[in-house]
């Protein structure tokens, strides 16, 4: 079972847990990305996630499918949110269940690493001083844009 989605709605982590856990699974791994208050030393008030939505949805599905092929019987649900998020809100949730813990844990990690490399989603941080910047992980700091 694989379900992936790019969503504008708040992510319900408990719902994802319930979705992947069955009588046949014994281990569920959940990864959540959440908005945090400080990045690169600046106080963040919120993040706007935007996406090339059509490709992001397809790429996320490809990532989950590739990861699912390493072990039999994986159950995977992934949601990435887009739009404006407040502090502590969930930007991404990856829930993976399996009979055994190693496949669940390893698949969860595989998916978040690939997602961060490949899914066309971008984030612009808003700061306490009113400035906004696009985050560029390839330069390890934010790139300045018009506020």
């Amino acid at each position: 079972m694989i379900r992936t989605a790019i969503t504008t709605s708040p992510i319900d982590a408990a719902a994802l847990l319930a979705e992947v856990t069955t009588d046949a699974t014994g281990a569920t791994a959940l990864f959540l990305g959440t908005v945090r208050e400080v990045n690169d030393g600046r106080a963040v008030t919120g993040i706007e996630y935007s996406a090339y939505t059509a490709m992001a949805g397809e790429e996320l599905q490809r990532i989950a499918k590739e990861a699912s092929e390493r072990f039999d019987g994986l159950r995977i649900a992934v949601e990435h949110r887009v739009g404006t998020l407040a502090l502590r809100e969930i930007s991404v949730a990856i829930a993976v269940a399996h009979a055994r813990r190693a496949p669940a844990l390893e698949t969860s990690r595989t998916i978040i690493e690939a997602l961060k490399q490949r899914v066309p989603i971008w984030k612009r941080e808003s700061y306490v001083d009113g400035d906004r910047q696009w985050v560029d992980p390839t330069t390890a700091h934010v790139s300045a844009t018009a506020p």
């Binding site: 935007s50 059509a54 989603i121 790139s143």
Partner: protein, 81 residues
Amino acid sequence: MHQLQVLLFASYAEAFGASSVTVAVPDPATVADVVGALRRLPGGDVLPDAPLVAVDRRYAPGVVHVRAGQEIALIPPVAGG
């Protein structure tokens, strides 16, 4: 030469001041030709040495051929998660 539309997102959409641009490229053209044409547009100086390009929603290296009717997108450094 023929015209190809290229989708722009996030920081690149801001740099070029549009959510898509049209470039003139040789026919047949490659992804590298498209990137070269984009680089010559106002705002094109923000592009890194090898910007990511997607063709029909999949990443495509510079040697891939592109034609009108395909969905071509220039992908800024991704920052999901």
